[in-house]
């Protein structure tokens, strides 16, 4: 009985199909937890909404774009200052957010007039900014506003500006995943092919599904540039609006986060015949494979080997120091989805750690197929895990470390378990060779914190 019903879930037996423990000899053709389906109300799920998937994860990363959120103020407020994706232009994208501040009378009479006024004001207040993304939210979708009509009107009036509209009300789909999808598909449909990039190299790629979390993008781009590869568009770390309009000109789509951005790679293949290459960018070995695959595609094998040799020489001694100190440590990965399968082998094969539990907020079947295929037996795999399940998992597997978000980290510290920020990192970047060292360092420091040992000591009763 590989799917399991946790004790805390007796009231919601349907959770059984979301929780799986891999047994010897099983594979995903036999058992696969259900995923990407509706959340049970009241479970204290970790999931967000479609709007945040579109704005916070993908669109909000653009470094030269007004983020106009058409809805009540909270949608803007709550998706601002919650991410660590810097840019090389002074972090415009981290500093500003825009809301139409929808009010009751707009709900009654329609919010389009307010939207238009807000758009015009936004461009007027920052005359150097010429690009905008409009996001719909629950309220403005329900009242039936037509932001595309308004965007078209403004584009006619202001001429040198460009506006993209994403319809991503929070209630759409079952998690933030729906918002990723909406953004991908709408961008492809409305914007790709409307701008021509300047081609400077015979080797061109789109780097897709990396959001420059703690400067990840800079690390990867450095490798690609050393190989002589031009990045047409970076979807969407440290990126510009217009570069993403030129995605059709790349010769290869290199896909890191397949969950949030695999869709646009597929669409680019369908429409423009651009091949898709999926990679992992965390961990030494995966980075080597990434660069070798890329080198092979462009017949730049020697260049790839040069980059690998240089990086390995630089970072291996540091990495080795941690490699001898982390084996046997039990780690749980409770993140969005893809990092389960990106990380499990890297942590187990390279650092000798044991990934004992994984939970995904919004992963789909294919994420679990990959995670379970790469993961080991005895490991617990959970879709849309909730708080009581987490407590029970901790009881069962007693992890030394949890890779998860800061709020869950704040919770598990009470249980004397350290966390490392699995979404935004403690001190990244975590991608690339240097990133692998950073991640190993942060995990080592967390696991060996003197505080958590002291926390266990009870001075009462001698």
């Amino acid at each position: 009985m590989p799917t399991v019903l946790f004790d805390c879930d007796t009231a919601i037996p349907e959770r059984k199909r979301h929780c799986y423990i891999k047994e010897m000899g099983e594979d995903t053709t036999q058992y696969l937890p259900s995923s990407d389906i509706s959340t049970i109300p009241g479970t204290l799920s970790e999931r967000g909404c479609a709007y945040c998937g579109a704005k916070l994860v993908i669109g909000g990363v653009l470094k030269d774009t007004i983020q106009m959120i058409h809805g009540p103020v909270g949608c803007a407020y709550d998706t601002w200052h919650t991410k660590r994706y810097p840019s090389d232009n002074g972090n415009f994208q981290l500093k500003y957010v825009w809301s139409t501040n929808l009010k009751e009378k707009d709900v009654v009479f329609g919010g389009e007039r307010r939207l238009k006024a807000s758009i015009l004001e936004a461009f007027a207040e920052m005359p150097n900014i010429k690009r905008m993304i409009i996001y719909t939210t629950c309220a403005t979708a329900l009242i039936g506003d037509d932001p595309k009509k308004i965007a078209a009107e403004v584009q006619k009036e202001l001429k040198d500006i460009d506006i993209f509209v994403v319809e991503c009300p929070g209630f759409a789909g079952v998690s933030q995943s729906k918002g990723h999808h909406e953004f991908n598909i709408s961008w492809m449909r409305d914007k790709v092919g409307t701008w021509e990039p300047k081609i400077t190299s015979p080797y061109t790629i789109n780097f897709i599904g990396d959001y420059n979390i703690q400067e990840d993008s800079y690390v990867c781009e450095k490798y690609f540039h050393k190989m002589g590869i031009q990045i047409i568009a970076h979807f969407t770390g440290n990126t510009t609006y217009d570069s993403l309009r030129g995605m059709h000109r790349a010769k290869l789509n290199l896909v890191n986060c397949a969950r949030s951005a695999g869709y646009i790679a597929n669409e680019l293949k369908k429409s423009y015949g651009i091949p898709r290459m999926d990679i992992d960018s965390w961990g030494f070995e995966y980075c080597k494979i990434m660069l070798r695959k890329l080198g092979a595609f462009f017949s730049l094998e020697d260049k790839a080997e040069e980059v690998i040799a240089e990086e390995v020489e630089k970072w291996k001694p540091k990495y080795d120091w941690y490699k001898t100190r982390l084996p046997g440590k039990k780690v749980a990965i409770w993140t969005g989805g893809p990092r389960l399968w990106h990380w499990t082998r890297a942590l187990e094969d390279e650092l000798g750690m044991k990934v004992v539990a994984m939970s995904s907020k919004f992963g789909h079947q294919e994420d679990f197929e990959k995670a379970i295929a790469r993961g080991t037996t005895g490991t617990i795999y959970i879709d849309d895990g909730n708080e009581l399940e987490f407590f029970e998992v901790i009881e069962k597997v007693n992890p030394d470390l949890i890779l998860t978000g800061p709020r869950v980290g704040d919770l598990v510290k009470k249980l004397h378990i350290p966390y490392v920020n699995g979404h935004a990192y403690h001190n990244g970047p975590y991608m690339g060779f240097e990133g692998a060292v950073n991640m190993a360092r942060d995990m080592y420091n967390a696991i060996n914190s003197p505080l958590m040992k002291l926390a266990k000591e009870d001075l009462r009763g001698g």
Binding site: S99, V107, R114, A455
Partner: protein, 461 residues
Amino acid sequence: MYCEIKEKERSGIINPMYNCQPAGAQFAGIGVKDCIPLVHGSQGCTMFVRLLFAQHFKENFDIASTSVHEESAVFGAVNRIEVGVDVLVQRYPHLRIIPIITTCSTETIGDDVEGTITKINLSLKAKYPGRKVFLIPVHTPSYSGSHVSGYNAAVQAFISNLAKKGEPNGKLNIFTGWVNPGDVIEIKHYLREMGVDATVFMDTENFDSPIMPDKSITTFGNTTVEDFIDSANALGSIALCRYEGGSAADFLKEKFDVPSIVGPTPIGLKNTDIFLKNISKLTGKAIPESLIRERGKAIDAMADLTHMFFADKRVAIYGNPDLAIGLAEFCLEVEMKPVLLLLGDDNPTYRKDPRIAELKEKVDFDMEVVLNADLWELERRLRDKEIELDLVMGHSKGRFVAIDYNIPMVRVGFPTFDRAGLYRHPVIGYNGAIWLAETIANTLFADMENKHNKEWILNVW
């Protein structure tokens, strides 16, 4: 030389200084013991607010969502409240109270929350005889007011749904408003010193909670169901914040004749004096020597700093209205000039606030009060060189304005995620006045040193 009160002229917001109503209701909800708020809306309305609280307190708070999805937008989502409550009640046996907090989506759909609660109450009674779980409807459409009015609405909902006339309990109701654990501790300290038995709504002292050897988790509010029920039998109510809990005090006065005093927010000496006198007035207890000594220490600490370092310093203040107004009053006490005051949301009564009227009368310098403001009101004035500032006071959402324009900033209010442990310190009361004065001083001192601006003055003072 006068104080001008105006409204933000733009329709939209660039960099909001306030959140939406459900966020405020959730903050009130986590202050209650044996309570998990159930937010009726999309998952993001809960997930991000939980993250926001975690950013500020570095703690986890349990808040549930009805996870409204697409089909509910079409057919109504009341069934998701029913399932949500049932799941919570079954999986959390200690649970005694669940506020059901609406959002923009479910208010727009028009879900009948009260009717649903009546229906659920019947089934709960049948399913769990001997167990009572209170369900409290909290209507907080995100398109009205702000987190301030949402907090106020939730506190009032708890009180109006639960308060019940019984025997007089001789206690004082204190409605704290949106404050930090450090403030709650300060309030309790005064009540103890004065020998006053009181109930604190919401008692959030344990939001600053320990890691214990037995791994127990105690990051919960301490205000109980009984506290709400018994609030009708108090000898009086004091609401420290007019816009955050004030209407609950008003409700108890109107419905149950509980005498109430609303405000002033006890920030600074004079406001704290009034607070203590108000406690005295309602309870007949004297203000003890110990608090006179604390008051004296605060005056002493502030006097060391005012003319030499604070006088004429130009300050911009933004945040929750009660806090921002209180800070402006504090600034006047220490000879600083609050030249720009940004107050949140479109509540028309801010304009009529007697404290604003008093500021208007008092100030002998040019001052602007911007209502329904956003943080662009601050940044644009700086960018266009319409204003010169020596200090910014407000929550962390305005941090980049201070950073980019190189203005020293004192983080105060909610959220203050870019400084460590601020929730531990009071801003209200005499100790709050000391903390504010010394934090402002040390912030200015560090800035003098960073800019090599007469930093040698600090050699001797």
